[in-house]
């Protein structure tokens, strides 16, 4: 990692899983934030959507997402905190999806945009890869970030890392 990246906090999901991973009391001393997530959902499906919310708010959210499935590509948009895709219970065993979110100027006084790329790791013919642009139309500084799944819970060994990026 570049030397301007600093690990703020991390978490590894234990036995029993968890429905939500929240980073709270995020310091305002960095310029940008990066989240790196390795996850698998307990939902009985091949994939699950990943959702991100700031400061406990589920309103004023929107996304535009480009998704490839291995043979076709499509674009979607909506008004939730959907940021990407990851593996779920019926994808290749012991395999986790990867997701990275970049959140610039998280402590500033403008609306909060972010970009996300994510992939579903699986040996199946259909495997999703997403590229997403997200917006939280709120000028408050981000002090907490919650990660959830559209279905199911994060299984054991899912990990989440929060990095702070300084502009110098």
């Amino acid at each position: 990692m570049p030397n301007t990246f600093e690990l703020i906090a991390s978490s590894t999901v234990g036995a029993g899983g968890t429905a939500n991973i929240t980073f709270s009391s995020i310091p305002s001393t960095f310029t940008d934030l990066i989240i790196k997530l390795s996850a698998r959902s307990s939902d009985s499906a091949t994939s699950a959507g990943v959702v991100m919310q700031f400061n406990g708010s589920s309103s004023s959210l929107s996304y535009r997402l480009l998704e490839g499935d291995g043979s076709t590509a499509a674009s979607y948009n909506g008004t939730t905190g959907r940021v990407g895709v990851t593996d779920a219970a019926t994808s290749t065993a012991s395999t986790f999806g990867s997701l990275e979110v970049y959140i610039p100027n998280y402590a500033g006084s403008t609306n909060k945009s972010s970009s996300t790329d994510s992939v579903q790791e699986t040996n199946a013919t259909t495997a999703y890869a997403d590229l997403s642009a997200n917006l939280w139309s709120n000028t408050a500084a981000i002090t907490s970030i919650a990660l959830t799944l559209q279905a199911g819970s994060f299984v054991q060994y899912s990990t989440a890392y929060l990095y702070g990026v300084k502009n110098a």
């Binding site: 043979s71 559209q150 279905a151 929060l162």
Partner: protein, 77 residues
């Protein structure tokens, strides 16, 4: 039966806490899952319809048959 839990990591102290979700939080997750299932079904249907149109367009092109406007849209950028 206890509710599912969430993990909260305090970035100032580094403390990690496992907290049981409130009933309201559980309901919100359930609503989110239901909405996501509907949306996924719509997206899957749209993707399959687009794939069918593309396949039809390709077959007609090979056979020298006229394409519908929707079929032509799958081939023309």
């Amino acid at each position: 039966m206890p509710n599912p839990t969430r993990i909260e990591i305090n970035c100032e102290t580094g403390e990690e806490t496992v907290i049981e979700l409130t009933d309201a939080e559980v309901a919100e997750l359930a609503a989110q899952a239901a909405e996501a299932a509907i949306r996924k079904a719509e997206e899957d249907a749209a993707r399959e319809a687009q794939a069918a149109l593309k396949a039809s367009a390709k077959a007609k092109l090979i056979a020298g048959q006229p394409l519908t406007a929707e079929e032509a849209d799958t081939l023309v950028i």
